[in-house]
Symmetry: C3
């Protein structure tokens, strides 16, 4: 199972890199200066995990105990700042890795929350917080209504990944197996939603009033 | 005094329900999808208490230790999503229960902060944070200047409720009696401000410059 | 060295006052009522330090353990509300003290994070969080993209101040000497950037795409 752990660690760093890229790209588009772009990249990559760790009492948060996540986020931000035109052309690979990052963060967050003794429904919620918190912070800092709340199946995929982790734990599946299964489910669901255009219902243009 | 505790518990759940309804209704109005509406409902119902608990060191926060508040917030969000037209017509009852929720959250937060050893002025501030934090998070997530900061007597009522709790404790009043008194003071003040149109002064259109 | 400690304490209160003034002035400009102005002043003065303390596990945060910072922030808010026209004319002194406040908060935050056992790169980051967090919270609450992320050398000055503290500690400089040096470096850098119009590069109007 060692190789599975190495895989999860590697995916975690990939997730950090991709989330930081998405934050930095938003900063470039909104006309922030170099520092603002780097900060937005770091916040997008770490805010979800930091919030999750604060809420479960894992202090200092993982993103502040090691310099590696922050260093990766800074490199991603610098690259996004320098090569923002290239990024535009790469939209599909970015969306693919973003889906992988979502799966990894949601699964790792759920497992961490379970390890800190939270009940399983709350552990799934905290996994989701770890997966989507960064994107929400990115949008709040650029004064937009978070896109995650507006469209597409994103957080729901994170919940599904967390649910797989919990289900796996309840049938005493090895945690790396359950984790990998959760990542696959979350990432596939997100990618399917993207490419098929699945969306959740919206209330606004309704004519019946129940 | 048992019945008083039951009353406070029941009011706490009523407050959660009403705050979640207010968040979900805002989500519907801003065109969020079903998931966004549910998240906004849950955040509005729990963010104030979660922030308060993080600041006083009550980890994990109460809203994450039990599934009941989140379940109530989800039900409120689903109802608001389905019956948003009905909600419009119910504005007065919603405002009434919102005032009750504010009182309950402000009082319970002040008592909890006192129990965690904070000085009384800070306990009152943290009671207010618990009462108004959810509404502020709701407005930040929908990219608006929080309405609580702009108009009407709302947070001031929360401070008044907390002050009654502290005053009651200083004369060794039974804590449930002090709490109920605080809820009555806060809720009445809020309702009076609503129906009489009381507002706090605004600086902008001034002609003298001191 | 006692007088140096007294100096740092005094500067810390000056920083609180100036940051609160900047938040309250923004509240007046955005048409908030008296309460909103006071809240925005208090949040601007304390949010950075509170976030830093939550992240390093210093619970309850310093701003909630003593009533003094909050009282100073309230007085600053009341003055800003009453004398907002005067404030306009005082822009230069306000910017001067704001730079001093930034230096003090960045240095004190770095030292506190080191004392709580964080690695030095993270300690510098947390010092910066303490110095700029309030301004970011102020802008988020008034639904603006934080100005710190958009222009001028501000957070970079905070990082420089923190770096001086860390460098001083590594050559076993007395911590008050290192701290004062850090404050001088951060404040001077910020003032130079202000008066010379130094800015960081912005990505938007580029024609080469790397």
């Amino acid at each position: 199972m060692d190789s599975a752990i190495v895989l999860v660690r590697a995916l975690d760093l990939v997730g950090t890199f991709v989330f930081a890229t998405s934050g930095a790209a938003m900063g470039v588009r909104r006309g922030l200066d170099l520092f603002g772009v780097l900060v937005l990249g770091c916040v997008t990559a770490t805010a979800g995990g930091v919030l999750r760790d604060v809420l479960i009492g894992a202090i200092p948060p993982a993103a502040l105990s090691s310099w590696l996540p922050l260093a990766i986020a800074l490199v991603a931000g610098l690259l996004a700042f320098r090569f923002d035109r290239v990024l535009e052309k790469l939209r599909q690979p970015v969306q693919f890795f973003d889906a992988v990052g979502l799966g990894v963060f949601a699964v790792a967050g759920t497992q961490k929350a379970l390890a800190f003794g939270l009940d399983w429904p709350m552990a799934i919620v905290l996994g989701m917080v770890g997966g989507i918190g960064g994107g929400i912070a990115r949008d709040v800092l650029t004064a937009r209504v978070p896109t995650l709340l507006r469209s597409e199946i994103y957080a729901v995929a994170a919940l599904a990944g967390g649910l797989v982790v919990v289900a796996g734990a309840s049938i005493e599946l090895e945690s790396t197996v359950g984790g990998l299964l959760g990542i696959v489910v979350c990432t596939s669901l997100r990618l399917l939603a993207l490419y098929r255009g699945w969306k959740l219902p919206v209330a606004t243009p309704r004519d019946d009033d129940g």
